[in-house]
């Protein structure tokens, strides 16, 4: 019934197929045939778990087919797009028990497999009045369309299944919950008392039939970071259902999982509608979403206006109040920031000298050094890590340094600190010691390391002169000795044979 497609084959009996860029026989559509709807669901679930159903949804159609002998099968058709996509679909369809075909209009030939890597072509087209004809290497069958099954309807009809509790899944940080009106108010108070960040709304649905007195009303809660014990408590309450969101507008009941990965089919769900899939198969749709309010604003509080205590007016004292505090240095666990200076005790100058020999030019160029009788102050605006010596200093305010790992207490703002340290001019202030005694080093005392540390180098003069460059002399012509017969004795031109 089928023949294998050959390399570089361009003419096919199957209408609407052609080799793609890889040479695989491909039509505009791909068709997967399933014997039953549960195989289709298995395929959709497997595909959604591995990839995204949104890629297929645009041109996806599910139809129930009927044969002339009145047997029924389920057909899924998608846009073929490329052989890469079809290969993925075929791989998953085989797992789900489906058969894969490709074609364009009515005739669909079996898609490639390991026996024929480039695909198949029919030997002879079936001339029957049918909506679709499928050609397989073991059969060829004509089908009529019975009805179409929208994917959205299929998803809404599928019932979520319970996940085993032993799996130890943690609830997501955000949860929805629906509660019957009778228990909703109590849950409001409960969430408020345990300081759970939550918002609440009241959702209403119109009555489903004339026999209903009123429409359905439910409390809806939007909870964030709810403790697990509260989630489990709410889940165990009758009339309360907790939902885990799977996207912007879809949520599935906590402890349940939908057969199809709903987050991979997000394009099916309207963003302005909230879909809550309950474990019993019921789907709550809220459109539009009701207005939410924080639970703390909805909790009932007893207020007795008459029994409220009167207010009192405070009167200031006439006495002036003074308070004198000294700045002190205290340890801090904050990470070190702006470590741009170091103070090296003068006793360690030999170490500094050795280190300066080893520093690279870039680090050396950025250092500025000031030397006093007690210490050597080294600054590097880019970070002093390149000079691991002395006590590192963090710049807490412009040109004001404290030892790294310590902080000034009380913790005053940098602007206040600048005002506190008076008479420093343009100098650099270094706090040290338990009493936080500041030391001011004038700006003029700092200079590049090369100026401060290196001794002058005296050069020894030697004599040198440039290499003499000679231009080539001009050539002077001298004729050869004059010959009476200039052409005599010259090599003769070889004669042509």
């Amino acid at each position: 019934m089928l023949e294998r497609a050959a390399l570089h084959q361009t003419r096919f009996r199957t209408p609407g197929v052609a080799p793609d860029s890889r040479g695989v026989t491909l039509g505009q559509q791909g068709v997967v045939l399933f014997p039953s709807i549960d195989r289709l669901v298995a395929f959709l679930r497997a595909y959604g778990n591995e990839g995204s159903l949104d890629d297929l949804i645009t041109h996806l159609k599910i139809r129930r087919l009927i044969t002339p002998l009145r047997t029924r099968e389920i057909m899924l058709s998608i846009a073929a797009e490329s052989s890469y996509r079809m290969d993925r679909v075929a791989g998953i369809a085989k797992l789900a028990g489906g058969l894969v075909f490709t074609g364009t209009a009515r005739h669909f030939v079996k898609y490639r497999d390991s026996a024929s890597p480039l695909g198949y072509d029919v030997l002879e087209l079936l001339d029957e009045a049918a909506d679709m004809v499928l050609y397989h290497d073991t059969f060829q069958q004509s089908y009529s369309f019975e009805r179409e099954i929208p994917l959205r309807d299929l998803i809404f009809k599928l019932t979520p299944y319970r996940i085993p509790s032993g799996e130890g899944r943690q609830a997501s940080s955000r949860l929805w919950a629906s509660a019957e009106v009778g228990v909703g108010a109590a849950i409001l108070t409960y969430l408020f008392r345990w300081q759970v960040t939550a918002r609440a709304a009241l959702a209403e649905w119109p009555p489903e039939s004339a026999f209903d007195d009123q429409g359905k009303r439910l409390y809806l809660f939007d909870m964030s970071e709810a403790p697990e014990r509260i989630v489990k408590l709410l889940d165990s309450l009758p009339g309360v259902h907790v939902f885990e969101p799977l996207g912007k507008s879809v949520a599935v009941e906590y402890g349940y999982e939908h057969p199809i990965a709903l987050d991979s089919a997000a394009s099916l769900f309207d963003e302005n509608t909230l879909h809550l899939f309950r474990g019993d198969g019921d789907v709550l749709q809220l459109n539009p979403l009701p207005p939410f309010a924080p639970v703390r604003s909805l909790v009932r509080t007893p207020i007795d206006v008459d029994a409220a205590a009167p207010t009192r007016t405070f009167q200031g004292s006439d006495q002036s109040l003074t308070l004198g505090l000294d700045l002190k240095l205290a340890p801090t666990s904050d990470p070190w920031r702006n470590v741009t200076a170091t103070v090296i005790p003068i006793a360690e100058r030999e170490w500094l000298a050795r280190l300066l020999y080893a520093l690279p030019p870039a680090t050396l160029a950025s250092l500025r050094m000031g030397v006093s009788d007690e210490a050597i102050y080294v600054l590097d605006p880019g970070g002093i890590e390149g000079l691991p010596l002395g006590v590192f200093q963090s710049e807490v305010a412009p040109r004001i340094y404290v030892p790294s790992g310590l902080t000034l207490v009380p913790a005053v703002a940098p602007a206040v600190l600048e005002e506190l340290v008076r008479d420093r001019g343009t100098g650099y202030v270094f706090f040290s010691g338990e009493n936080a005694t500041p030391v001011v080093v004038p700006r003029e005392a700092f200079g590049p390391v090369s100026r401060r540390a290196l001794r002058n180098v005296s050069a020894r003069a030697i004599g040198a002169r440039a290499i003499d460059m000679e231009e080539p002399r001009l050539p002077l012509l001298r004729y050869d000795a004059a010959r009476r017969f200039p052409l005599w004795g010259l090599p003769k031109e070889p004669k042509e044979k």
Binding site: P472, L476, L477, D480, A482, R483, P486, L490
Partner: protein, 373 residues
């Protein structure tokens, strides 16, 4: 036969080519038949010292122009240049204009023309530089003429050392020594071979056209200068182009406008592909830009508007300022230099006139269109 050819090759290399390049006394040896080019073009030097002198001389001759790791010699094209030049130089010997020897002159000229016809366009930078090194030294070759006048006779020695001594106690009444380069001698009237003046000058000009670099640098002495395919190939080498431009600016740009404007006019009339036009436009533009940059340049703007070919040459620079695309890259300069060049371009536009600028702009736009593709 082979030995005779090898001896002739060694004599030519040792006595003519090596001193021609290194300087000093260069002896014009026996005239060279055209058919020996096949042997000479692939010859091997017997004397390594001579070979060393030739190679050093070739490098020194073009050191100011451009560099090349390979300067092939002997190579058929370069050998034909120096052989043809040698034969033309030999024709300037007045001693050949005498009985029996006079009959050989047309044959020697024929050989020179045959050698010139066999020279193909250079295909590499090294080949172009080698030919220029040889031809420029040939043109720089100087002949010293001595005229000794005694009371009885006037002796003339052209290109030869005087062989006459005064008889004591008398001395020569007058002794005059003049020098002329072959650059002038081959094109001007000299003291013998009257009938060969024009053919020798024509052959010399043809020989110069076989070396594109020499052709550009000798622009004022070459009538009807054209931008041929070989010249465009040389100009498309940016290193060579810059060397040529700097050499022209260094020696003076007083005479560049007419020949280059004439060549540009004929070049545009041939409607060449755009990618051929860009090197020519770049050459003319960079020459004028360097002229502005270099205060020593001699091409001063004239008080009266230039006409004809000079007009078109002057129009190239202002046309670049009006052309978008790749042409603008030729005037990517630092701000003050850019202002100077723009001021000169405005001056040139006033000299050349709108028609010439329009024509130059159309040529530049064709080059830009090809560069865009």
């Amino acid at each position: 036969m082979a030995r005779q050819l090898q001896e002739l090759f060694d004599e030519f290399a040792k006595d003519f080519v090596a001193p021609l390049l290194k300087g000093g006394e260069t002896k014009a040896v026996r005239v060279l038949p055209a058919h020996v080019l096949g042997t000479f073009g692939h010859g091997a030097f017997s004397d390594t010292e001579v070979e060393q002198q030739i190679r050093e001389g070739l490098s020194d001759a073009v050191a100011d122009l451009a560099s090349s790791s390979v300067m092939p010699f002997p190579e058929p094209g370069a050998m034909a240049v120096v052989m043809a030049g040698h034969n033309l130089i030999a024709l300037t010997d007045p001693k050949l204009d005498r009985r029996f020897a006079r009959g050989s002159l047309p044959k020697v000229l024929g050989w020179a023309n045959e050698l010139i016809d066999s020279i193909e366009a250079p295909t590499t930078r090294g080949e172009a530089l080698t030919r220029h090194a040889l031809l420029s030294r040939l043109l720089d070759l100087t002949r010293e003429d001595t005229i000794l006048r005694s009371w009885a006779y006037t002796y003339r020695f052209h290109g030869r050392a005087p062989t006459v001594k005064p008889v004591p106690p008398f001395d020569f009444l007058d002794k005059k020594t003049t020098r002329q380069t072959m650059r002038r001698l081959l094109r001007a009237h000299f003291d013998a071979n009257v009938e060969l003046y024009e053919p020798i000058a024509k052959a010399t000009n043809r020989l110069v056209t076989r070396s594109p670099i020499t052709l550009l640098l000798e622009h004022k002495d070459v009538p009807d200068l054209r931008f041929g395919e070989a010249v465009v190939s040389v100009l498309s080498d940016s290193g060579l182009r810059q060397g040529i431009i700097q050499s022209i600016v260094r020696t003076g740009t007083q005479h560049v406008a007419a020949p280059f404007g004439h060549a540009l006019r004929h070049f545009a009339a041939m409607d060449p592909p755009g990618e051929y036009i860009l090197p020519v436009v770049a050459f003319l533009a960079e020459l004028q830009i360097l002229e502005v940059m270099d205060d020593r340049a001699g091409h001063r703007p004239k008080d009266v508007p230039a006409i004809g070919d000079e007009e078109l040459f002057s129009a190239v620079l202002p046309a670049l300022f009006e052309t978008e695309g790749a042409a603008k890259e030729l005037i990517q300069l630092e701000k003050t230099d850019y202002e100077r060049v723009r001021a000169r371009a405005a001056q040139r536009k006033a000299e050349a006139g709108d028609d010439a600028v329009e024509m130059a702009r159309s040529i530049a736009e064709r080059a830009v269109a090809a560069a865009r593709v």
